[in-house]
Amino acid sequence: SQQGEEDPQALSIQEGENATMNCSYKTSINNLQWYRQNSGRGLVHLILIRSNEREKHSGRLRVTLDTSKKSSSLLITASRAADTASYFCATDANTGKLIFGQGTTLQVKP
C-alpha cells in the first residue's frame, strides 16, 4: 500500500533556484524521512523528522512537517546540477517499517 504520495511527480528548474517537493500521507506516523536516489550514489538518506517536530534543517535542505494536514515538504535551496535525482519520502506508520512514496524526479539545469 502507498502511504506517501509525492507532488509534483517531476520538476525542472535552473541551477541556483529553489526546489520544493511535497509529500502527503494517510495515517499517523512516528517519523517521516526523505531519501535521494541517483545513478551515481544510489538511494541515500537525507533527513528524518519526528512526528513531534515541525521543521528541520540540514545544509541546503529544509523539511517541514504538518501532522494535522498529514503532509511534509522538502525545500532545496540554491540548487545545483548535482541535486538532479529522484526524491522519496518514507513514513513509519507506527509499524516500525518504512513505506516509500513514488518519488519526485528533479532535474536541475546548469
Binding site: N31, H45, L48, F88, D92, G96, K97, L98, I99, F100
Partner: protein
C-alpha cells in the same frame, strides 16, 4: 567505511528460471532489509532481518521468493520461478537497529530483467 555490497549488479533471465541475489551489509549492522523497486515507483519492503531472524516478511511473495541470512551477516534473496512482473531493482539495506529512525544504508542494487 565500506558500504552495503550487492551482487550481481545486473541479471537477465527468462521467465520460470530461478535467480539469486547476494548482499553483504555494513559491518556490525544487525538489521538487514530487502526491497523491490519497480521502475517509476518507490522501494517496497520485502523482508527485514534482525541478526538471522525474520522481523517482517509480510510482503514477500512466499510462493516464489525466499530469503535467508545465515549467521546473521550476509543474506541471499532467491526467486523461483521468476515471472515477468519480477523485473525490478532489488535493493539491500542495513541499519544498526530495527527502529525506523535508525538510518538505513542502501546498496547499489541488482537490476533484474525477466524476459
Amino acid at each position: 567505511e565500506a558500504g552495503v555490497a550487492q551482487s550481481p549488479r545486473y541479471k537477465i533471465i527468462e521467465k520460470r528460471q530461478s535467480v539469486a541475489f547476494w548482499c553483504n551489509p555494513i559491518s556490525g549492522h544487525a538489521t538487514l532489509y530487502w526491497y523491490q523497486q519497480i521502475l517509476g515507483q518507490g522501494p517496497k519492503l520485502l523482508i527485514q532481518f534482525q541478526n538471522n531472524g525474520v522481523v517482517d516478511d509480510s510482503q514477500l511473495p512466499k510462493d516464489r521468493f525466499s530469503a535467508e541470512r545465515l549467521k546473521g551477516v550476509d543474506s541471499t534473496l532467491k526467486i523461483q520461478p521468476a515471472k515477468l512482473e519480477d523485473s525490478a531493482v532489488y535493493l539491500c539495506a542495513s541499519s544498526a537497529g530495527t527502529a525506523s529512525y535508525n538510518e538505513q544504508f542502501f546498496g547499489p542494487g541488482t537490476r533484474l530483467t525477466v524476459l
